[in-house]
Amino acid sequence: MLRLAPLLIVTLLVGPILAGLTMALLPAFGYLPALGGERLSLAPWRELFAQPGLARSVAVSFASGLVTTAVSLAVVLLFLASVSGSRLDRWIRRMVAPLLSLPHAAAAFGLAFLIAPSGLLARLVSPELSGWQRPPDLLIVNDPWGLTLMAGLVVKEIPFLLLMSLAALPQFDPERRVAMARSLGYRPMTAWLKVVVPALYPLIRLPVYAVIAYATAVVDVALILGPTLPPTLAVSILAWYQDPDLSRRLVASAGAVLQLGVTASALAVWWCLEGLVARLGRAWLARGGRGQGEQPLRLAGKGLILLASLTAFVGLAGLALSSIAGLWRFPDALPQAVTAAHWLRALPTLAGPVATTALIAIGATLIALALTLAALENEQRSGRHPAEGKLLSALTLLYLPLIVPQIAFLFGLVVVMESLGTRPRLWLVIFGHLLFVLPYVFLSLSEAYRRFDPRWSQLALSLGTSRHAVFWRVRLPMLLAPLLTAGAVGLAVSIGQYLPTLLLGAGRIATVTTEAVSLAAGGNRRVIGVWALVQASLPLVGFLIAVGLPRLLWSNRRGMRGSL
């Protein structure tokens, strides 16, 4: 049974994506019988390339993938290199979970309200400092070059890369490496950058690729923060798919294929950059500089990550304030009156979506945990370890849903599901979420599982315990903390899903996220505030359990409480 787990995982993940991609590829070349397109042609491509602003759309999508990733990765590495174990460092580490659980859309709304010309920051300095009696006419949010979009993505990708790095670090004992380098006279940050990063990067390479892919093809954040004339490629594709002029679906399909190409080229460029950096890095290592000017770097590492975290939290606080605001005119820093009206109006309609969201998230996460554990346990028993960090191992396919843009295959998948005669049901949505939850759960849990000291199992086996009993009575309880953390990550990922819920549920399955997005179309910031807060608080529950439960259960076993 266990041996089938990796196969099952790969089939579950790869099958739907390939099927969905096929159904995007055919219409891209004119084949869509329902619209009378029965012969292959290049017409959709000609029409696609005639779309105004296409080159700019592609450029912004491509650039945002690379810039977002480079900045997030640099901030995370600088921060880790500058960590000294102070209280601030521990506090920042603790912020990782809530920041990671904050849904992308909620963070984007918060940022938009923070930095818009009529937003929170402008209100704080007006009119006294700025002299603005009315909001200045400045193009900040939705700027044509996507800088705000990239900033919004960086805020959300930093915690993800940080969590992945924190999970990977203990594998190669960085403290000893740094101690060794320091004994040779390297300054602490230089030591870390020179001896830890080269070992760390291969382990977080796939998450980095996932960030690139995500940033090139993101829809919800780009809708809120991205450029508009033209929007990013993914947003254009969504608009074409939803155009009442149904022939636009062919263009949309061609666009989806183009998106695939844009993401792939961003990945390829990054891959080339990796080689370049490695070459330059080797020279830098070999030169043997012991490190100078560490202080500015250290400040940058901590300062930038602090800035990113504060931005997210202050933005969210602004939304919270909006959700209880009466009339709140510019340049008032605070609303003229507070009212519970927006919450009271939303409360009766909250229960259903909250329950559905929880059901889907828990369902998808439990399945993902079961499959992940089965695959990992199989790995342990067969003694075969996957080639970690190598691009071509079988389990790399696990990352396919994170690398292939959602917009490129989800619409096709809906057609496939329809052809199979499946009707929109809750299980279909859970299955759709599993595509994205499973990779993240696997990503979060695998390192802890593989790192688990084999001597515990050997000891138990030598006492006559069966392998099954070792799994259930030794390994699982001792891995409770990472297990719960992986579960919390899974819940957070599921709660944030918009497109899969909407498309596979035919819009019938109302979750907090689908409600929030459809209400966002109404532009009422007070209502958006209410739903964004609810959306942000749900995954937090998962993380609170992940942190709290081990402490409660293992109150007498300090080492098993987990580090998060």
């Binding site: 329902a34 909001p135 608009a239 009442p244 057609v415 329809e418 179309a521």
Partner: protein
């Protein structure tokens, strides 16, 4: 006009003839029987809590009255519902669709009709449909100049209404397109319109085109029958002059009407417009706009239209959908929808022809300064042919996107 009249005449005759009326009633009884116990999935834009609350009320009423379970499938764009039905048809799903009822406007109606995605005709079978008196109100049987032919049932009315903050504006707001340009030059960055292809933004283009074009008759025929370049030249000239004075210098546009309203609330804009005449007053009540908000329509009238509900061709619960559509046309539902405290969407019923008691349901106290009296909305310009909207959208995109 006469053509449209001819189309509704059989219905009038049917209702006038007692024997036919009796059989129609019987038929409706069988629809009601069939609808009992059905669950109707209604795909409707859900960006406004007031609309959502009204739909919630409809849900409770049809459950109590007709034992029909109504589910509001909340969407942020009607196009996604159209898209859904199309995906089902591509997959060969011809009788078990997931959409039973959809809230449509002309553009989506034209697209669905053209692709045979609609079920019908059904509107004439709805007993309450006669209350709209289509023989006197042809707008309830035409959508963007296209005859609805019973493939959609009218639900509410819309008309472009401008609004402004009287305290923030020193001078009188502009009353026509030329004044609007002059006003924008003095007040740079204080006016804009939603970006194309948003529905309200596209409507603004049509409104401007009607005001600026030399010959407006051609707008009511398919666009291929006229010289698009020549007809629209004054519009582009106007927009080229206007854009540098718009919000963000016309380098960016808000996404839709609700965002326009938010920018008004934030004080970024001083003048905006909406498709729902009651929206400014409702937004004042919800703290979104200041109490000094006032509204008006342009000289010579503004574009107005009727919005509808329709049933996709593959809905397996047509009877239930028809019962809901009929309930939406009931005086009770229409009066509640028109109530400013609920939604404020004008009724499609011919109130003048209702009996006195029913008519009293529709009387509103109009002491709200942000709300226009009904007679201010008397001058309604009809919508151009839908092909104009698409052509304008494409031309706008080609001119202003990616520059």
């Amino acid at each position: 006009m006469s053509l449209r009249l001819l189309r509704v005449l059989p219905l009038a005759a049917m209702l006038a003839h007692p024997l036919h009326a009796a059989s129609a009633l019987q038929e409706w009884e069988s629809v009601l029987d069939e609808a009992r116990g059905q669950t109707v999935y209604w795909h409707a834009w859900a960006g406004d809590t007031r609309i959502n609350d009204y739909l919630d009320w409809v849900k409770r009423r049809v459950r109590d009255e007709h034992e029909v379970e109504l589910v509001h499938v909340k969407i942020d764009d009607t196009g996604s519902a159209v898209s859904r039905v199309l995906a089902e048809r591509s997959a060969g799903n011809h009788d078990d669709g997931s959409v039973d009822l959809v809230w449509l406007n002309g553009e989506n109606f034209a697209a669905m009709k053209e692709n045979d995605l609609l079920y019908g005709p059904f509107a004439e079978q709805l007993p309450n449909f006669s209350l709209t008196h289509p023989e006197h109100n042809p707008e309830v049987v035409t959508d963007f100049t296209l005859p609805t032919e019973g493939y959609e049932s009218p639900w509410g009315k819309a008309q472009i209404t401008f609004y402004y903050d009287a305290e923030a504006l020193d001078e009188e707001p502009p009353r026509n397109m030329a004044q609007l340009l002059a006003w924008a030059e003095i007040n740079p960055g204080r006016f804009t319109y939603p970006r194309i292809p948003d529905f309200l933004g596209s409507t603004f283009l049509k409104q401007a085109l009607i005001a600026l074009a030399d010959d407006t008759d051609v707008l009511y025929e398919p666009v291929v029958q006229s010289d698009f370049e020549a007809v629209t030249a004054p519009l582009w000239e106007y927009l080229d002059a206007l854009h540098p004075h718009l919000w963000r210098r016309g380098r960016q546009f808000p996404a839709n009407g609700p965002e326009l309203r938010r920018l008004m609330g934030d004080g970024e804009l001083s003048l905006a417009f909406t498709f729902n005449p009651a929206e400014p007053a409702a937004a004042v009540a919800d703290f979104e706009l200041p109490e000094s908000t006032r509204s008006y329509v342009l000289e010579g009238g503004t574009l107005g239209n009727v919005h509808f509900v329709a049933i996709p061709f593959n809905s397996p619960r047509r009877a239930g959908a028809m019962v809901v559509a009929n309930f939406l046309l009931s005086p009770e539902a229409q009066a509640r929808k028109q109530d400013l405290a609920v939604w404020g969407d004008p009724t499609v019923l011919d109130v003048t022809r209702l009996d006195a008691e029913t008519r009293s349901l529709f009387e509103q106290e109009s002491d709200n300064p942000a709300l226009l009296p009904p007679e201010a909305l008397a001058e309604t310009l009809p919508e151009p042919h839908p092909s104009w909207m698409t052509a304008l959208q494409d031309a706008w995109q080609a001119r202003y996107v990616g520059r």
